[in-house]
């Protein structure tokens, strides 16, 4: 069985504050990413290509907090983090605090495939991007009026409107391909009004992103600091591998016992060795979608 799941962030998503038009836009964005990733699997492509395709689509969609439309730092700039992991050989690539790379997930993949390193940050990561032939874009490309007003609200100490996906949001994808290879990818602009240089869990292998063939692939979204301290994504895989827990039980324990105990919330998507998808969250809602070759197909927010 092959399968893909995606998320577009978790947080307070009160039904009342999401207009039907806006909800329709988010659903369409999730549908496009899910379809883009699933199409790769359907034609026999790898889980790695599928998660890359899905995350790239979410990065390009200004509705989501990654790539264009990312949350802004306290200085009003976009600083992007992303990671990708190949469960087959447990290869991984990640970038943090890049400001001029249109699709950070593609740069993360390039770090994995063309460098001897796993994580590159800041100007050094962009230097590598240029050496690899990436065209850089101005930081303005990422900034949308919605994110700018969200930042202004936050800086005035006002309650941030829930009209846009919550500031904690992140996008991610996990997939299992026809050969049973697992992959995970995550991309984000981080928290609104964050301090420049702050790196969350998304590019941290084991925290926001993890994949290991024969076990599971996981992508996280939520309050990143808590996910780092809990080594969230790897915790889930370790619980499956060492304790024989189902992916569902492992994710439930992490979100509803461990992270809740620490005071953190968020969501996780995962796929196990058999291609079974699990999506769970401790927030009010999580933008998410799942599709598999056994006929499952869903998009959900609440």
């Amino acid at each position: 069985m092959y399968a893909i799941a995606i998320h577009g962030g978790a947080g307070a998503v009160p039904r009342a504050t999401l207009s039907p038009e806006r909800e329709q836009r988010y659903r369409a964005g999730l549908e496009a990413a899910l379809g883009g990733g699933y199409a790769v699997l359907e034609r026999g492509g790898s889980s790695l290509d599928a998660v890359t395709a899905a995350v790239r689509i979410l990065e390009d969609d200004p509705c989501f907090n990654a790539g264009r439309g990312a949350a802004l730092t306290r200085e009003g700039a976009a600083e992007l983090d992303a990671a990708i992991m190949d469960g087959r050989q447990q290869r991984a690539g990640a970038v943090a605090s890049v400001r001029h790379v249109k699709n950070p997930v593609e740069l993360a993949r390039r770090v994995m495939e063309k460098s001897r390193h796993v994580l590159l940050v800041g100007p050094g990561a962009e230097e590598f991007a240029l050496e690899e032939g990436f065209a850089l874009v101005p930081n303005l490309y990422f900034r949308t009026p919605e994110r700018q007003s969200q930042l202004e609200h936050e800086q005035r100490g006002e309650r941030v409107s829930d009209l846009v996906p919550p500031a904690k949001g992140t996008v991610g994808a996990v997939a299992c391909d026809r050969d049973g290879n697992l992959a995970a990818a995550t991309s984000t602009g981080g928290m609104t009004n964050k301090r420049p240089g702050r790196v969350g869990d998304s590019p941290i292998i084991g925290a926001g992103t993890y994949a290991k063939n024969g076990v599971c692939a996981v992508s996280a979204t939520g309050h990143g600091e808590y996910f780092i301290r809990a080594v969230a994504a790897h915790h889930v895989c370790a619980a499956v591998e060492y304790r024989g827990l189902s992916l569902e039980a492992a994710m439930r324990e992490l979100l509803h016992d461990i992270l809740s105990g620490l005071g953190g919330d968020g969501g996780l998507i995962g796929v196990d060795r058999d291609g079974r998808i699990v999506m769970d969250f401790s927030t009010e809602g999580m933008y998410r979608g799942a599709r598999d070759s056994a006929g499952r197909s869903e998009i959900a927010i609440y």
Binding site: M85, Q90, R91, A92, A96, S97, E113, K114, S115, R116, H117, V118, L119, L120, V121, G122, P123, G124, A125, E126, E127, F128, K194, R195, P196, G197, R198, V199, G200, I204, I205, G206, A207, Y210, G224, E225, I228, R229, A230, V231, H234, H235, A238, A239, Y242, R243, L262
Partner: protein
């Protein structure tokens, strides 16, 4: 190193483990312990001059005792780890702080992390160029910011806001590291761009990362790690050191600090995985460390070592490289500094 010596060492370790309590002790009964490392690599007696060896031993000794003194005075494991690591950061022999290795562009980029097992709380910095003691800045991130990891210029901005005095890049650069970078660049010219960089290839050249673990009188564990990374690394490269779970991890019952080829440590989430094996597979700390270093890590081609410490005061120091600078001191009267395979 002979096979017989290895066996002897193994049996000694096993004998020691068998006499240690399996269950956590009441707070007043567990020992206070500090464990440190100063990097792993090709550390062989035949390649080490007596002067250099003595100098490394003195450096390790100073760090070990600085950390232990904090514990002895009733200080916290966090403060002990900070004191031990700061001592090694200031010592140009070690690849952290002053004397850190240089990146491909010829300057130092420093990474550090600290974790409080009783929180769990953690702080880390990556890619800083002007912070004399990155371990102190990691501690400030933990204590004074809502974040865990700050990178690059943003981390230095935070340092200034916290009143940390920045130093010029030249402070960190030593003539030896400049020579080593030139050698590393020549060697790299013969390798594929994706081939892993070797951790320090020869004895006598400053070794990897530094780290420390401590168990204080209150029974709290802490872990810290600090490094300049791998020389000739790409500008912006971050290794396992500041990655919580990879190079640094502490919980209420288990603390680990790693040194080696960081990319392998990140992929395998080495530090956390050791603690997970202990917690979930009910194996001893020694056994979990052994599995990680000699099986999991080695199978993927990763080279290096770790130190590990649990809440009962059991510790392990193991490596799959030729040697590892290491030391341990506890209130049971044990004090040991070693660098070679044969426990010396």
């Amino acid at each position: 190193m002979t096979r017989r010596k290895t066996r002897l060492l193994t049996s000694l370790v096993l004998a020691a483990a068998a006499t240690l309590p399996a269950a956590p002790l009441p707070a007043a009964e567990h020992p206070i312990v500090i464990v440190i490392h100063g990097g792993a690599g090709v550390i062989e007696r035949s390649r080490m001059s007596p002067e250099r060896e003595a100098s490394y031993r003195a450096g390790l000794s100073a760090a070990l005792d600085a950390g232990y003194a904090v514990l002895e005075q009733g200080g916290s494991s966090l403060d002990a780890v900070g004191a031990a690591i700061r001592t090694m950061e200031d010592d140009p022999q070690f690849n952290a702080g002053r004397g850190a290795v240089l990146n491909h562009d010829g300057f130092c980029e420093l990474d550090a992390a600290i974790m409080d097992g009783s929180g769990p709380r953690a702080g880390a910095v990556a890619g800083v160029h002007h912070v004399k003691n990155p371990i102190d800045l990691a501690r400030l991130v933990m204590d004074k910011s809502p974040h865990v990891l700050l990178a690059g210029q943003g981390a230095e901005e935070f340092a200034l806001e916290q009143g940390v005095t920045l130093v010029p890049e030249s402070y960190f650069i030593t003539p030896q590291r400049v020579r080593e970078l030139e050698e590393a660049k020549r060697a790299a010219a013969t390798r594929a761009p994706t081939a892993p960089l070797p951790i320090r290839p020869q004895a006598g050249k400053g070794m990897g990362t530094v780290g420390a673990l401590a168990l204080d009188a209150q029974g709290h564990l802490a872990a810290g790690t600090s490094t300049g990374g791998i020389d000739n690394k790409l500008y912006g490269r971050v290794g396992d050191t500041p990655i919580i779970g990879a190079g640094t991890y502490a919980s209420e019952s288990c603390a680990v600090s790693g040194t080696g080829q960081g990319e392998f440590y990140i992929r395998q989430v080495v530090a956390y995985d050791i603690c997970a094996m202990v917690a979930y597979q009910h194996v001893s700390l020694e056994a979990a460390v052994h599995t990680m270093i000699h099986d999991k890590l080695k199978r993927t081609g990763g080279e290096g070592g770790v130190i590990a410490l649990d809440h009962a005061g059991n510790y392990a120091m193991d490596f799959n490289s030729a040697g590892m600078h290491r030391g341990v001191r506890d209130s049971r009267g044990h004090r040991e500094i070693a660098m070679y395979r044969d426990a010396n």
